[in-house]
Assembly symmetry: C2
Homo-oligomer: 161 residues x 2
């Protein structure tokens, strides 16, 4: 079986195969629906780059995450305010879990050396702590309904509200 | 059967009955989990006010929504920037649909006369348009993964990015 040393994280392309692959993941929602609609209506070109990254084993997408940069303008988490990455929908398909693929995805995200914010399910908090993330201080108005976890590269601090 | 004229929207209290009622709604997630945890750990008092509103028919919670105020500081949607309401998780239980309860909840939210932002499933867009909401201009960095709809009282405009 393919091993974490031999796989790479790659940017996913928007096409019908990717969208079909996405259906195997639990967190299928608005984002995927609108991607499909845009493709069908030729608003996005086939094989254009998506804001998703993933790991393929052969032809099978076994892990994915959404990762996109938000500008400083929208930053309420870091000090000084700066561009940061929003990591979303990290998910490894069940038969491929516990083999380091999730960690590999997170390390890939960290490699941009920008602060990262994610919003995991409460049950996944332990995983994120192992990945070096910490629970952001909870500010009701900013965070209501979220469970924000953040990671900061050297020299970045958490913002106070 | 109770009619929309005879019901009222009320603020929900945090207690075990409310949390049990919430289980009947589809959008059960982090928010409810952490409310339960806080109640169990005595971090919130029994019967304290929650950021949810709902409609009871007799003893049954038939509709609910989360509605909370975000300060101007976090406003990237309206011009001039101002305090606004985030409306979330509006849901009417299936046997009670198509009787005006959803509209009643939205009218209640509008009665504060603050701008409102919501993030409906794409399939629900038509409902929100009927409620006088409009799709916000889509800015990838601000809105990625969302389908933002907004409503503005007199004198408020949509912010340009």
């Amino acid at each position: 079986m393919a091993d974490v040393m031999n796989v790479k994280v790659e940017r996913l392309l928007i096409n019908y195969k990717t969208l079909e692959d996405f259906k195997k993941f639990q967190a299928y929602g608005n984002q995927e629906e609108s991607m499909l609609r845009d493709l069908e209506n030729n608003i996005v070109e086939n094989d254009s780059e998506s804001p998703f990254y993933g790991i393929y084993i052969g032809n099978t997408l076994v892990a994915r995450m959404s990762l996109y940069k938000r500008s400083k303008k929208y930053d309420h988490y870091f000090d000084p305010p700066q561009d940061y990455l929003v990591l979303w929908k990290l998910e490894v398909l069940p038969p491929y879990r516990n083999r380091g693929f999730g960690r590999k995805m997170v390390e890939f995200a960290k490699s941009f050396n920008l602060p990262i914010k994610t919003n995991p399910y409460i049950e996944a908090s332990e995983f994120w702590e192992k990945m070096g993330f910490k629970a952001a201080s909870y500010y009701l108005e900013r965070d209501f309904g979220e469970n924000p976890y953040i990671w900061m590269p050297e020299g970045v601090k958490e913002a106070e509200q």
